[in-house]
């Protein structure tokens, strides 16, 4: 067993964890982060991509609304390349209460969320596909966010300031000595070995998994996993974030992010953040609710369906997870549970990740008896993939403009999302990808309409060329990614996407014989399936 030592250990490589490690590094702490998969593999990489204006919580959760608008302004300034300035609408559809509009306006005023009512004619000029029966429309500064790029960028900033980022390190359990947590025992999935990491302080930023982590140190943290199901349509049917103007409910928002429009979400308490199924009623409900906002929605091609689990913290038991506050919670286990060297930051949402990191690291300073001011609100986060784009907001046409400028049409690996050979090579080498899914999170391969049909074999070929692994390893890498794409397609197999999958099936199962290539069926780095029992687990169940 290897051992390592650091000052502060952060558990969890989502928005919160990477935010915390960047803040720690900027304040000069020696620190390391462990993530059991790739960065943004969990909830961060599975949300609809909304940069909240705070409008969503203006009536129901004013504290969360204020946090959102404060952070909205800061994030636009410090990480513009991760944000598209789409703007947002709150619309009153015929199914909603007209009077809620006034409460909404008042709520926005009370929480300082900028909001103006616009005419329906103006709304339809900007978004001609919206329901013409909408009676009121309010404009707010919502945006859409690339949470993969943001997590990568923040992690790169942390690394540039000396932090260690360890992905594919799964925490087996925290190491407790008496009334103190002194580190964590981790399992390196790639090297297949255990690593004990000693730390003066452990920050539990494991999101929906925070309860599980705390439990290993015999500390009880009640984090509910609230499953949210989302469906992406293959096209930007709207270019503005469109919210239903009513109390938060299932299927009340369409977010245009990169090339797709995402309808979200449901909210169902699930017992295990690891395993959950997407239910047919959820898909039906999303389709039905989306059609209230965009009447032609059902005719669009659905690209993919997925679920994420919200970390919802509550000290007391609650039945409906929607009633849990979306504001975040910082738990100092020394004062709360009498266990020193251990704090948990949980709850919140992507938009408030930086503020959550700030209060967490303030507490770390306090614990370690030092005063170091936070600078993350004024530190611009560079784009690790492209120099020079850092100061501009991301926009929809950017990738196409880049490919055109470089005349890189002949170098496209993922044709749908316009990922070039250079992108893929960068992700494999500099990004230290362990799976093709890691490459996807870095450069968006396989995320377009064909869902990997035409790029998976190309990426596998480049992978093999660059890494020169035994052929069995490349084969299983290919199969893992095909499984990963497939799981998000099963719930929406109708219409054009069914035709696409039939073609993809012919490519991989008939032409390339992917199921019978030498090598294991699946690897331990392969995807966790929504249903209990991953491919790898069922294969190795007898071991």
């Amino acid at each position: 067993m290897r051992t390592m030592e650091t000052e502060v250990l952060v558990i969890g490589g989502g928005a919160t964890g990477t935010g915390v490690i960047a803040d720690l590094a900027l304040r000069g702490f020696r620190c390391a982060l462990v993530e059991k998969r790739d960065l943004a593999h969990g909830t961060t990489g599975r949300y609809h991509g909304l940069l909240h204006s705070g409008g969503r919580y203006a009536v129901k959760d004013p504290k969360a609304a204020t946090e959102c608008i404060e952070e909205n302004v800061i994030l636009r300034r410090i990480m513009p390349h991760c944000i598209e300035d789409t703007g947002g609408f709150f619309v009153v559809t015929p199914w909603d209460d007209d009077a809620f509009g006034d409460r909404f306006m008042q709520g926005c005023r009370d929480t300082a969320v900028p909001c103006e009512e616009i005419s329906i004619a103006q709304m339809l000029r900007e978004e001609p596909h919206l329901n013409p029966e909408i009676s009121r429309c309010f404009r707010v500064p919502d945006g859409s966010a690339d949470s993969f790029l943001a997590t990568q960028s923040v992690a790169a900033l942390a690394q540039a300031h000396g932090a260690q980022i360890l992905h594919y390190y799964e925490v087996k359990h925290l190491i407790r000595q008496g009334d103190r947590v002194v580190g964590a025992l981790c399992y390196d999935l790639v090297k297949d070995e255990e690593v004990a990491i000693q730390a003066d302080l452990v920050v539990n930023a494991a999101g929906a998994w925070a309860g599980k982590i705390a439990h290993t140190a015999e500390v009880e943290v009640n984090v509910r996993a609230g499953k949210g199901t989302m469906i992406a349509a293959s096209y930007r049917i709207v270019n503005t974030v469109v919210n239903r103007c009513k109390m938060p409910a299932d299927g009340d928002i369409i977010v245009p992010v990169h090339t797709v429009s995402i309808i979200g979400t449901t909210d169902e308490a699930v017992p295990d953040p690891e395993h959950f199924a997407i239910e047919p009623w959820e898909v039906q409900l999303m389709m039905q609710e989306a059609a209230k906002i965009v009447p032609g929605w059902r005719d669009l091609r659905m690209l993919r369906c997925w679920g994420g689990v919200r970390p919802l913290y509550q000290e007391t038991k609650v039945a409906d997870t929607r009633d849990v506050t979306r504001a975040y919670t910082l738990l100092d286990h020394e004062t709360r549970d009498g266990v020193a060297g251990f704090i948990t930051i949980t709850g919140g949402k992507w938009t408030t990740y930086r503020q959550m990191a700030q209060v967490t690291v303030d507490r770390v300073c306090e614990k370690l008896g030092t005063v170091r001011p936070c600078t993350t609100h004024e530190t611009v986060v560079p784009n690790p993939f492209e120099q020079g784009h850092g100061r501009k907001h991301h926009n929809l046409g950017q990738r196409l403009a880049d490919v055109e400028e470089k005349e890189a049409f002949g170098q496209l690996i993922c044709e749908c999302e316009l990922a070039t050979r250079a992108h893929v090579e960068h992700a494999i080498i500099q990004g230290e990808a362990k799976t093709i899914d890691d490459v996807r999170r870095d450069v968006r391969v396989g995320m377009g309409p064909c869902q990997g049909g035409f790029c998976t074999y190309r990426v596998a070929a480049i992978w093999h060329e660059l890494k020169k692994p035994p052929i069995e390893e490349t084969n299983v890498t290919l199969r893992d990614f095909l499984q990963e794409r497939w799981k998000g397609l099963m719930p929406i197999l109708w219409g054009p996407q069914l035709k696409q999958e039939r073609l993809d099936e012919l490519i991989y199962l008939s032409v390339l014989n992917a199921d019978h290539l030498p090598g294991p069926r699946a690897s331990r780095l392969g995807p966790a399936m929504y249903e209990p029992g991953t491919a790898w687990e069922s294969e190795h169940a007898h071991v």
Partner: protein, 433 residues
């Protein structure tokens, strides 16, 4: 009455007509269009229909400047649409993307001037035709070509047509009372017949009259296709609206519109409404009642109403190129069917995808070489057949093939008119004597 049988019902509701961009949802990335595209086969400047159409379409935003420019190398031949197994309207997506580039002012001034000039054959005709001898002399002189290249970037070897001595509509007007009949058709001559090849219109009128129709030649404008292909949508819409105004009353009386220019009829039928997303009830009425002339004749033939007796034998072996704009009508090969009626005439059909000219595309200096490379297999074919003339339905293709091969071209309707015994004009007259 045959006309009433064809009078199409407007059973398509306007609100079901969706913008062409939404068809990109049906792309399954199969690459069939890429392998069929004649342009991407010869140049790296055009990344292919899949890339510029359904793929790039996902990255375009009506509210932002266009991020791409390679789509401008699409020549609009519509071969991609024809081969697409899922019905993506690739060529139309490309046309609309180009219009967005034009509308956001992303075309350099000199190119914009040029495009606006060559996209207005009606304007050129109005000024050039009355001065035909001088205009022809100038346009076909080395001097004129040199300045056209220098000032406007027009390809020095562009297949420019020659203005004809008399406007077709003047000829038609002079003989407007020659035939009276209850069976009437409206003839859409288009700019090429009006200003450059009156003989095609004359042949069409003769054939229709020989079959007992009175031919109405209404006042009309350019169909607007050259403007559509150059992204000048506002001007194209003005032409289209004017054409609807001039012709829709005839349609409402139960008459159909026939045309000899396959591009014009395609524009009236489909291109203008789809590209402009212009679906008024009158526009849809025009759409449903416009026919290519050979499509019309095949209907007559099927009804046993086409004059097929006493056709004059024509002992010739000729190459025929069904233009891509004609194949885009999705009609089979009506011209081939009609030409087959002519005794002793042997027609050898080309299998080439496209002659390359793409309307105004081949007139542009930066695209001329692509045009010639695309057309090469067709040019070789025409020369191999070695007929004294060759046959093609579309005017710009005729001019392009003739310029590239030295073989003169005729419209198939000219052959039928000659077989009916009418005196041919132009290249056919020389062959028939």
């Amino acid at each position: 009455m045959a006309n009433n049988i064809w009078q199409a019902q407007l059973n398509i509701e306007a609100h079901t007509l969706k913008p062409v961009e939404l068809t990109l949802d049906h792309c399954i990335k199969c690459n069939i269009c890429v392998t069929a595209c004649p342009v991407t086969a010869v140049t790296d400047l055009f990344p292919g229909p899949k890339y510029v159409g359904p793929q790039a379409g996902r990255f375009r935003h009506q509210g932002q400047p266009s991020p791409d420019h390679s789509v401008d190398y699409c020549n609009g031949c519509r071969v991609c649409n024809m081969v697409c197994p899922t019905g993506v309207k690739i060529a139309e997506i490309n046309g609309r993307a180009r219009a967005h580039i034009v509308q956001s002012g992303q075309v350099p001034l000199r190119r914009k001037l040029r495009n606006n000039l060559i996209a207005r054959p009606e304007l050129m005709g109005k000024f050039g035709q009355p001065l035909a001898p001088i205009a022809n002399g100038l346009l076909h002189s080395g001097f004129g070509r040199f300045f056209a290249k220098l000032l406007l970037d027009i390809a020095p070897n562009a297949p420019l047509p020659r203005f004809s001595g008399e406007r077709f509509s003047r000829w038609a007007h002079k003989r407007r009372d020659a035939v009276r009949s209850d069976r009437k058709v409206v003839y859409f001559h288009g700019c090429s017949t009006e200003y450059f090849e009156a003989r095609v219109g004359k042949a069409a009128v003769q054939v229709l009259e020989a079959n007992g129709f009175e031919v109405i030649v209404p006042s009309q404008n350019c169909c607007g296709l050259p403007l559509l292909s150059n992204g000048e949508f506002a001007a194209a819409q003005a032409y289209h609206e004017s054409n609807i105004r001039h012709m829709v009353d005839y349609v409402k009386q139960g008459y159909v519109i026939v045309g000899t220019s396959t591009s014009c009829t395609l524009t009236l039928k489909e291109e203008a409404p789809e590209m402009l997303a212009y679906h008024t009830p009158d526009a849809r009425l025009l759409t449903a009642n416009t026919f290519d002339i050979h499509e019309f004749l095949v209907h007559l033939l099927d009804a046993g109403e086409l004059k097929t007796d006493g056709l004059r034998p024509m002992p010739l072996t000729l190459a025929y190129h069904p233009p891509c704009q004609y194949r885009a009508h999705r009609l089979g090969r009506p011209s081939t069917e009609i030409m087959a009626l002519i005794p002793e005439l042997t027609i050898i059909e080309s299998q080439a995808a496209c002659c390359g000219v793409g309307g105004t595309y081949g007139y542009k200096a930066e695209k001329y070489d692509i045009t010639m490379a695309v057309g090469k297999p067709l040019f070789d074919f025409v020369q191999q057949v070695h007929g004294p003339i060759a046959v093609c339905d579309s005017e710009t293709c005729r001019w392009n093939i003739a310029a590239a091969t030295g073989v003169p071209l005729v419209h198939p309707i000219e052959l039928l008119a000659a077989a009916y015994g009418y005196e041919p004009e132009g290249p056919l007259a020389e062959v028939m004597t």
